[in-house]
């Protein structure tokens, strides 16, 4: 084994293999059972997790997918974007090699076709985990087709009626569409289409400074195009704290991304084979000429065409499915999970919420979504991850909060890696050692934040965290240093 699980050669049948797993051609839907114990709409991360969990409970499960198994995460989100981020990171590292004593003899070439081939190979490989065949082998009846509710306990897919005792709506979300005048006419990419690019554009304009917009802006810039990112707000990643967003902003600028904060795109037009975006920053008008446009302004729940009214399922004020803390919709036999109903539109949140819904729907569980501790991460360089409360959340709840901050440039492993941008901030309830949340900006924040997830889920406080032995040197040493700072701040009483 060479440690690389990805086939090195392009296999001509990769695309067929991928299709066979996520949307088999000629798939025959199974004959419907007279009634299903659990019907799941949507075979994205939430739907798959729910169907598999329900199948393990031994109940009859129907899983219905309108498009491709795996949902956005596999097909047009987490997996393909991370594959591209990696390629871009490698290419960027080649340009920085001189700093490490390994100067490149010449400008390294880039083969974008191979970058995209690698992304597709990876997607094919990951699709194997939950292929239609594997799901069926678990005893799940997999249906492909558009489903809609016919009544409070029945669905229809084409000519087939599926009756159910309990159901889960896990239909995910889709990219928010443009309301920018002219943008539809000039054409634009979204997360659903950017991974189908076959050639690298010379110029790319990214509208939207959320996680995907930032990831793709930095990654594509590193691959070569001139990239401009346009964000309506004064900072990127509005969900994150200011210092984190500003570190990211400077990092992107260092990579060459042209930053346009506090800027609104008010129009688009085509001219001389290029696409022109008209922008306004406060009152200053400007035009950005580009070859491709990526629109990444958020995601909206997929609820259209489900005939939710027929089942007595209401929507919330954001257009998502209205659920209570137990993820039950306004129809007590129907639950929802994932992007279709949650503010946190992340794969891990979708899976976790699905498991709660299964417990509550099928085992009379009383698990609450509000008890979930969900970390998330934006996979730029450096990565930005968060878990739990932000300081402003805590202060709004009148919780006195104190943050223990360790800068990555003071962490030995980060120094050896020349990756000193960032910090670990652990927020505690002041006067206690209870951890309320954490923000991590680091090259591997996506991994470090999981330590905080374990710590917080286990109810371990800062004093306990300080006693946990970490490897040395490691970037996670920053977490331990924060805990040690806490112990120095509150020295133990001795008998002397």
């Amino acid at each position: 084994m060479n440690g690389d699980p990805i086939p090195r050669k392009t296999k001509p049948n990769d695309s067929k293999l991928y299709a066979r797993r996520v949307r088999p051609q000629g798939w025959q839907n199974p004959p419907a059972e007279s009634i299903y114990d659990f019907a799941v709409l949507g075979a994205g991360p939430a739907g798959i997790a729910a169907a598999e969990a329900a199948a393990r409970l031994g109940v009859r499960v129907a899983l219905i997918e309108q498009d491709r198994i795996g949902g956005n995460s596999l097909n047009a989100g987490s997996i393909p974007s991370k594959a591209i981020v990696k390629s871009a990171g490698v290419y960027a590292a080649m340009h920085k090699a001189e700093k490490f004593g390994a100067p490149m003899p010449s400008e390294p070439p880039l083969d974008f076709v191979k970058v995209m081939e690698r992304m597709r190979r990876i997607r094919t490989r990951v699709s194997e985990h939950h292929s239609a065949e594997k799901l069926s082998a678990l005893g799940i009846d997999v249906f492909f087709g558009a489903a809609r509710f016919e009544s409070r306990n029945a669905l229809r897919i084409g000519d087939t009626q599926l009756r159910f005792r309990k159901a889960l709506v896990a239909t995910g979300a889709r990219p928010r569409e443009s309301e920018i005048p002219g943008l539809n006419d000039v054409g634009y990419l979204t997360s659903a289409t950017i991974f189908d690019l076959e050639t690298l554009p010379q110029r790319l304009a990214v509208i939207g400074g959320g996680p995907l917009g930032c990831e793709m802006a930095q990654a594509f810039c590193r691959l070569g195009p001139r990239v401009t990112i346009i964000q309506n707000d004064p900072k990127f990643l509005p969900r994150e704290e200011r210092d984190a967003a500003e570190i990211l902003s400077r990092s992107m600028a260092r990579d060459g991304v042209e930053i346009r904060l506090n800027t609104t795109v008010v129009g688009a037009r085509a001219a001389n084979g290029a696409k022109i975006l008209q922008t306004v920053n406060n009152d200053v008008k400007h035009e950005i000429e580009t070859d491709e446009i990526l629109l990444s302004i958020g995601r909206v729940p997929n609820t259209n065409g489900l005939a939710l009214d027929s089942a007595g399922i209401a929507l919330d004020d954001k257009g998502g499915i209205k659920v209570d803390d137990f993820l039950r919709t306004t129809n007590p036999d129907v639950y929802a999970a994932g992007d279709a109903c949650m503010d946190l539109k992340f794969t891990n949140a979708a899976r976790a919420s699905a498991l709660i819904a299964v417990q509550n729907a099928l085992t009379e569980g009383q698990e609450r979504q509000s008890q979930l501790i969900v970390p998330w991460c934006t996979y730029c360089d450096p990565e930005i991850a968060h878990i739990g409360l932000h300081v402003w959340d805590a202060r709004r709840q009148s919780i006195p909060v104190k943050s223990f901050t360790i800068m990555m440039h003071d962490v030995d492993r980060a120094i050896t890696e020349s990756s000193g941008d960032g910090f670990v901030k652990i927020h505690i309830a002041e006067g206690t050692d209870q951890i309320l949340g954490a923000t991590i900006v680091a090259s591997r924040a996506s991994e470090l934040i999981n330590e905080m997830s374990v710590i917080m889920s286990a109810g371990i406080g800062m004093a306990g965290l300080a006693k946990i032995v970490h490897t040395y040197p490691a970037e996670s040493g920053a977490i331990m240093l924060a805990a040690l700072a806490y112990t120095r701040d509150r020295p133990c009483k001795t008998n002397t």
């Binding site: 920085k96 700093k99 500003e246 570190i247 406060n282 300081v391 202060r395 901050t405 440039h409 002041e430």
Partner: protein, 430 residues
């Protein structure tokens, strides 16, 4: 510049204070009282610099650098201009709703650069106006100064600046309305909130200050507890006028601290950062620090010693999260004199010994970067910035005599604003 480091501490700071003060007599328009943002050719007026100038005139009188009459004349000219200039929502006005545009033409006083109606810069101007109102307590022109100052303060519609929200916007433009930017986290805006809350006419809502405070971050950084804000000036600006020693709002009561002590903590953090020098810049050490808002080498990427280094122009730099491109503000260390005199003096002597070019005509430049070598020396900002000179002159005076603090403490509006913000204790009780 001769070797000023041979001077005694008192002689050194007096000389540097006089140099800073002289900016205002050298770069102002005596006809309308406006003061240039920088000493560079064609610089417009910055209303904040006028606020510093108005506060520095009493310093000049006290030290015998100008007569009281001249100080009163300069002050009256400025107050008359601001009272008589056009207030409207038209793009070429001087102000609106009692606020003023950030930059004004030095001669006509009209808005330039299509700049914003700046709330914080108006607050700094008003702070200077209220300083003048309390200092000039005599007859003749001084009566008019007091009347004008009172009218100008009462005219500011702070409540309008909330735009129907719980917080204050950072600005407004006739072309697009209120700017998106808000005040997030602790920074220099304390004086804005205090003056806004103290208004007898259009005060900020009482919840405004509390809402801003919800964004504060109380952090333990390198072993020091501090109400975090990266740029050093954010720990200094409000303190140039308000004596925060011993007075506490609800936030600081809970932390068993006050904002004066907090600035001392921030200074310790900046010194520590200089000593650690995590980004390996030239010059940084325990006696070479002061990362804050100021001029910089401008946006350029260079490869220095085999590594890529990006340099910034005029911007707000901060510690420890950055941005930091190796540029320090040479005036900043000495401006911390009231908080940690030993650190300030050690730092400024070290800097003047090693990099005497940062101080010309007894005035510190806005920015200096010893990592970016230009002409065999570190990069140095051209000329001087009025904000830097004003803050430095005021802080030295506060260290020496507490003059500005004393004047400001006597203002009923300031006391009302502080009390409305929840401040108690210390001199507020007397």
């Amino acid at each position: 510049m001769e070797n000023v480091t041979a001077l005694s501490d008192e002689a050194l700071i007096t000389r540097l204070q006089r140099g800073a003060f002289s900016y205002f007599t050298a770069h102002s328009n005596p006809r309308n009282g406006l003061v240039a943002d920088t000493s560079r050719e064609g610089s417009p007026c910055s209303i904040a610099v006028v606020g510093f100038a108005l506060s520095c005139y009493p310093v000049g009188v006290r030290n015998g650098w100008i007569s009281r009459e001249e100080a009163a004349d300069r002050t009256l000219a400025a107050l008359l201009f601001f009272m008589q200039s056009t207030q409207s929502d038209q793009p070429d006005a001087t102000g609106y709703k009692g606020f003023y545009y950030h930059f004004l033409d030095m001669q006509t006083g009209k808005r330039v650069w299509q700049c914003e109606l700046s709330l914080i810069d108006t607050a700094l101007l008003i702070a200077g106006i209220l300083t003048a109102a309390r200092y000039f307590d005599g007859d003749g022109a001084e009566i008019q100064i007091r009347a004008l100052a009172d009218a100008l303060y009462r005219r500011v519609d702070w409540r309008w600046a909330q735009n129907g929200t719980e917080t204050i916007s950072q600005g407004w433009k006739p072309e697009c309305g209120f700017l998106h930017y808000g005040w997030e986290g602790y920074n220099e805006a304390a004086i804005l909130y205090v003056l806004g809350l103290g208004s007898p006419t259009f005060p900020l809502s009482e919840s405004a200050y509390k809402t801003w405070g919800l964004t504060y971050q109380w952090e333990n950084l390198t072993g020091t507890d501090v109400l975090y804000s990266g740029p050093l000036f954010t720990h200094l600006f409000s303190h140039a006028w308000i004596d925060f020693r011993g007075i506490r709002d609800d936030f600081m009561r809970k932390k068993h601290s006050d904002y004066f002590e907090n600035t001392k903590a921030a200074i310790a953090l900046h010194r520590e950062y200089g000593e650690r020098n995590p980004r390996d810049f030239n010059g940084y050490c325990r006696n070479f620090w002061g990362i804050t808002a100021g001029d910089g080498p401008s946006g350029q990427d260079l490869r220095i010693d085999g590594r890529d280094q990006r340099f910034f122009g005029y911007m707000s730099r901060g510690v420890p999260c950055g941005p930091d491109d190796g540029t320090i503000a040479p005036w900043a260390m000495l401006a911390t004199l009231p908080f940690n005199a030993e650190a300030a003096l050690e730092g400024v002597r070290h800097m003047l010994d090693r990099y005497p070019q940062v101080c010309t005509q007894d005035r510190f430049a806005s920015g200096f970067n010893p990592t970016l070598i230009a002409g065999g020396r570190g990069w140095l900002s051209e000329g001087w910035y009025g904000l830097d000179q004003g803050l430095l002159a005021m802080m030295i005076e506060n260290y020496r005599s507490g003059l500005i603090w004393e004047i400001f403490r006597s203002s009923p509006y300031v006391r009302a604003g502080l009390k409305s913000a929840g401040f108690e204790g210390g001199w507020l009780q007397s």
